[in-house]
C-alpha cells in the first residue's frame, strides 16, 4: 500500500530539501514553518501490462470490444500522443508501443489492411524517425514507416477537414485521414490531469484554426486550473469540440496512466523524501551532483535527456472517450493529489530540465516561463498554493539559449515581442496572427523539426493566469537579463529572494513548496 501525499511543516529537524533547477539540483534549507507538499508515494505498477491491455480492449467502457469494431475493408487510423508526454520519456518499450501492437494484432486478425498511424502532435514539432521508432517500437516502425506512420501536419490544407462548429462558434478542423476513417483508435498516456479524454483528438489532430479557440489568453485566464477540467474554460471548449467529434466520428479511446517512478535507479534519491534517504542515496546525491556540476554544459544536457523513466503503468482503460477519461482522471489524481490547508504568501517551485516542448532539445526562457507559471503553477485544484498578490519563487538558471531548429519562432518572440511588451493580451492582439501565418515558420514546421510559429505565444498565454494572480515572480539563480526581459526578477539565493519578496508579503511570509517532480498536484482547501 503506497503512502498518501502529505504536507511537511519544516522544523529544526527537517533536513535540507531537494530543489530541481534545470539541468541540476541542490539541497535547500527552507525557513521554519514552510510547508512542503509531497505527492503520494509511487503506486505499484501493473505486473502484467499486456494482459491488462488485452483485458481493456476486450472489456471496454461503453463500447463493444475492439475486435468487434474491426472488419475487413475498413479504414483504421491509430493516433497516438506525441513525444511531449510522458516526461521524462518512458523507458522502452513505451506503453504506446505495447497498446498499438495489440491493436494491430486484432486488426490483422480481422483482415484490416488500410491502417495508418498518426502522431497527434498538433502544432508541436514533428517527431524524428528515431523518436517515432522509440515510441511505437521497431516492429511497428519497420512495417509502417514512412508511408503509413507519420506526423500530423496542421498546415497541410489538403489533408484537413472541417467537422463543423460548436454552439459557441468554435471551428473544429482535424486531420482528414482520421476524420474519414471508419474507426479512430486513440492511444494516450496521461501524465497530468489536463491531458487525455476530450483533448486527445480535438487538439492532437487539429489545426491552428481550431486550436485558437481554446489556446488563448481569455480561456487560459479562466482555467483555474487547467489541471482541473471541471473549472477549466479550456477543457469546456475541448468538451464542446469533443462532443461534435463524437457525433460525427467513431473514436475508440485507450488511455493509460503511469506511476511516480520518475527517475531511474542511479538517481533514485530524486524519487524519495529527503529524510528517508539511505546512506547510499546520500552518497549518490553527492557523487551525481558533483559530476553534474563539473560536466560541460553540452554533455550535462545529453545525460539528462538520455534519462528514461522506469514508470509503472497504473491503469489501462479503453472504450468511450468520456467514460474512459473519468477512470483515467481518478488514477492520475490517486497518484498525484495531496491536500493542502490553504494558500501561502509565497509559493516555491524547483523547475526541472524538461518540459513537454524540449524533449531532446533546449529549455529556452519561454519554456521555463511556461513550465513555471503555466504547468507547475497550475498543478492545483480549488486555488493556487500561493495567495492572490503573493510571490512565486522558482529555481532555474533561465539561460538565454534556444534550439535554432526546434524553436525558431521562440527566438524572434523573445527578442522582438518581449522587448516590446510582456502583456499576454497585447501580444495576442498584435502578434498572434503574424506568428501563426508566417510562411517561414510554417515551412519549418512542415519540413524541418520546428514548433509552429504561434507556439511561443501559446506558451506565454500558458502563464497568463499566474501572471494575473501573482504580485511578483523571482527566479533563484536566474540570468538577470533574461528574466528581466520576461518581466521577472532574479535572485542569487533563496534568502535574497525572500528579501526581495518582503515588499509584497512582509517579513514573515507563509511559504508553500510544491515538491516536484515526481509530479504533485495540490488540492488547496
Amino acid at each position: 500500500m503506497s503512502r498518501p501525499g502529505f504536507v511537511l511543516e519544516v522544523d529544526e529537524r527537517t533536513p535540507s530539501l531537494l530543489m530541481h533547477e534545470g539541468e541540476g539540483f541542490r539541497l535547500e534549507k527552507l525557513p521554519l514553518g514552510s510547508r512542503v507538499i509531497y505527492p503520494p508515494e509511487s503506486l505499484p505498477g501493473m505486473r502484467d501490462v499486456d494482459g491488462e491491455i488485452r483485458r481493456a480492449l476486450d472489456n471496454p467502457l461503453g463500447r463493444e470490444p475492439l475486435r468487434e469494431l474491426l472488419y475487413a475493408g475498413m479504414r483504421l487510423t491509430i493516433v497516438f500522443d506525441d513525444l511531449s508526454i510522458p516526461l521524462p520519456p518512458m523507458r522502452t518499450p513505451d506503453i504506446r508501443q505495447r497498446v498499438i501492437e495489440h491493436v494491430l494484432e486484432l486488426a490483422a486478425a480481422k483482415g484490416v489492411d488500410d491502417v495508418e498511424l498518426i502522431a497527434g502532435n498538433a502544432l508541436h514539432r514533428r517527431m524524428t524517425p528515431a523518436e517515432l521508432k522509440r515510441t511505437v517500437g521497431e516492429r511497428v516502425y519497420r512495417s509502417f514507416f514512412p508511408r503509413h506512420l507519420r506526423n500530423h501536419d496542421a498546415e497541410d490544407r489538403a489533408n484537413l477537414t472541417e467537422i463543423g462548429q460548436t454552439k459557441h462558434g468554435e471551428v473544429v478542423e482535424i486531420n482528414r485521414r482520421a476524420a474519414e476513417s471508419d474507426l479512430i483508435v486513440y492511444v494516450n498516456v496521461s501524465l497530468t490531469a489536463m491531458s487525455g479524454g476530450p483533448k486527445s483528438v480535438s487538439v492532437g489532430l487539429a489545426s491552428y484554426r481550431s486550436l485558437k479557440h481554446h489556446h488563448n489568453v481569455h480561456t487560459l485566464r479562466h482555467s483555474r486550473s487547467f489541471n482541473d477540467p471541471a473549472n477549466s474554460a479550456m477543457h469546456h471548449s475541448y468538451d464542446r469540440m469533443a462532443g461534435l467529434l463524437g457525433d460525427s466520428l467513431n473514436i475508440f479511446q485507450i488511455e493509460t496512466t503511469v506511476n511516480n517512478d520518475t527517475f531511474p535507479d542511479y538517481v533514485s534519491f530524486l524519487n524519495k523524501r529527503e529524510w528517508e534517504w539511505t546512506l547510499k542515496d546520500q552518497a549518490a546525491y553527492l557523487a551525481f551532483k558533483r559530476a553534474n556540476d563539473l560536466a560541460p554544459p553540452k554533455r550535462r544536457r545529453q545525460i539528462w535527456h538520455k534519462t528514461a523513466s522506469p514508470y509503472g503503468i497504473t491503469s489501462v482503460t479503453a472504450g468511450d472517450p468520456i467514460q474512459v477519461h473519468e477512470v483515467t482522471m481518478r488514477n492520475v489524481l490517486r497518484q498525484q493529489l495531496t491536500e493542502v490547508d490553504g494558500p501561502a504568501d509565497i509559493g516555491i517551485w524547483g523547475l526541472p530540465y524538461i518540459c513537454p516542448y524540449n524533449v531532446n532539445s533546449i529549455m529556452n526562457p519561454i519554456l521555463v516561463m511556461s513550465l513555471g507559471l503555466g504547468y507547475f503553477f497550475n498543478l492545483y485544484r480549488n486555488q493556487p498554493i500561493v495567495r492572490p498578490g503573493g510571490v512565486a519563487i522558482y529555481y532555474h538558471p533561465v539561460r538565454n539559449e534556444f534550439h535554432p531548429v526546434h524553436h525558431p519562432s521562440y527566438i524572434d518572440f523573445f527578442e522582438e515581442v518581449l522587448a516590446e511588451t510582456t502583456d499576454p493580451v497585447a501580444i495576442e492582439t498584435k502578434f498572434e496572427e503574424q506568428f501563426a501565418t508566417d510562411p517561414w515558420y510554417i515551412h519549418l514546421y512542415r519540413n524541418s523539426y520546428a514548433y509552429h510559429g504561434v507556439h511561443p505565444l501559446y506558451m506565454w498565454y500558458w502563464g497568463a493566469h499566474a501572471m494575473e494572480h501573482l504580485g511578483d515572480v523571482i527566479f533563484v539563480g536566474g540570468d538577470r537579463k533574461t528574466t528581466a526581459r520576461m518581466g521577472f526578477r532574479s535572485a542569487s539565493t533563496l534568502d535574497d529572494a525572500l528579501e526581495m519578496a518582503r515588499e509584497r508579503v512582509g517579513g514573515s511570509p507563509t511559504i508553500n513548496y510544491l515538491h516536484a517532480p515526481p509530479l504533485t498536484m495540490a488540492d488547496v482547501r
Binding site: P404, D412, W440
Partner: protein, 397 residues
Amino acid sequence: MNLNLEYHRSPLRYAAARTATGTIATGRAAGWWAANMSPVRLVNRPEPRLPGPGWTRVKPLLSGICGSDLGLLTGRNSPYLSAVISLPFTPGHEVVGETLDDLPDLPKGSRVVLDPVLGCVPRAVKLCPACEADQHSRCDHVTSGMVSAALQTGFCADTGGGWSRMFLAHGSQLHKVPGELDDERAVLVEPLACAVHSVRRVPIPDGASVLVVGAGTVGLFTTLALREYTKAGPIYVVARYGHQRERAREMGATEVLSSDRAARALRRATGGFLARPEQGAEFLLGGTDIAFDCTSGSGLDTALRVVRAGGTVLLSGMPNASVDLTPAWFRELNIVGAYASGGNDFQDAMALAKSAPLTGYVDAVYPLSRWRDAIGHASSSGRLGTIKVAFDPTKDQ
C-alpha cells in the same frame, strides 16, 4: 606660424597602428593606439600661400573628425586611395570657418562651410565631363592642376585641412553660412550633404523598404535624408548603442535593430525565409529593397545578406573592410557607391541643418593640443554616447 595636425609618411607607424588596432587592442583601446601610433604629429608650419586667384585662407572654427579620418589613423583605409592623396597633409574636411581674404562674392570674415572636393574648378584645369555636369565628386582631374593630388581638402599637401589654425580653400568650395545656423550645426553640413547625395544616388520607389546599417553620423543623417527627400516606406536602422537607437527614431526610423538580430528581425518585418549557412552569418531569401551601409564597411556584409534579390546596396561611408561578395552574385544585387556630394546637395543640406533635430550632435570639442584625447574619444564615440567629435583650433593658445 600655423599650428596643425600633420599626417606624414611613416610606413612603420602606419603598420604599427594598423596592426595594433586590428589585433591586440581592438575595441575600447583602438582609439588610444591610433592616437599614439599613427603617423600624426602636432607641428607649427609657415602660413600657407595662396596658390592662385579665387583662393582664400580659412580659419577653422570647428572641424569634425570623420570616420574616414579614423580609418586613416588606424591604417584601415584602402591603399587604393594612396594615389589620390599627397603627403604630408593636414586632415579635416568637415569644417566651419571664417575667411581671411576677400573674394568677389565672399568678403573677408564670412562664415563658411567647406565642400571639400578638389575638382577641376579649384584646380584651374579644363572641366572634365563630370565637373561639367556639376558632379565634381566624380572629377577625373584630382591629381592635376595648381594644387597637388588629393581627392579632397584634408588629404592635400598644398591646401592644408581643417585640423589646423588655417588652411586654404577655393571660393567654389565655400558656402556662406546663414547667421541663424550656429557653428555646431554648420560643421555638420558636409556630412549631411554626403547623406543627401547618397539617397539621390539610386531611385528609391515610393514605399520601398530601406535598411540603414550603422547609426553613427552617416547612418543617422542618411535616415534623415531618406525621410526628407524620398518617399521610402519603412526604414530599418541597425544601431549598436542606446543613444543611437533613440536618435535613429528621432530621425524617422521605423524600427531600430541590433546588429546581431538584423537578419531575423528583417525577415519578420519584410517576409521571406532565413537561410543558415554552415559558416558565416545567416542571410535572407527576401529582405529589404535597398540597404545603405553607413559603417565604413563593417556592416556591408549584413547589408549584402539582407537585401532582397535584385535589390540595391549602397556604400555610403568609405569602405575599409573586406567582404564576401557571393550574395551580390547569387542575389543579383546592385552595388552602388556614394562619395561626397554634388549638384544642390550642399544647399539642401544647409537647409536641413537648420530644421533637423541636431541639437547636441557635436558634444565633444577639443583643442588641437588635445588631439590624442580627441581621437580616442572619436574612436569610442558610440560607446561614450557621442555622435560627432570636433576640434576647435581657436582654443589653442
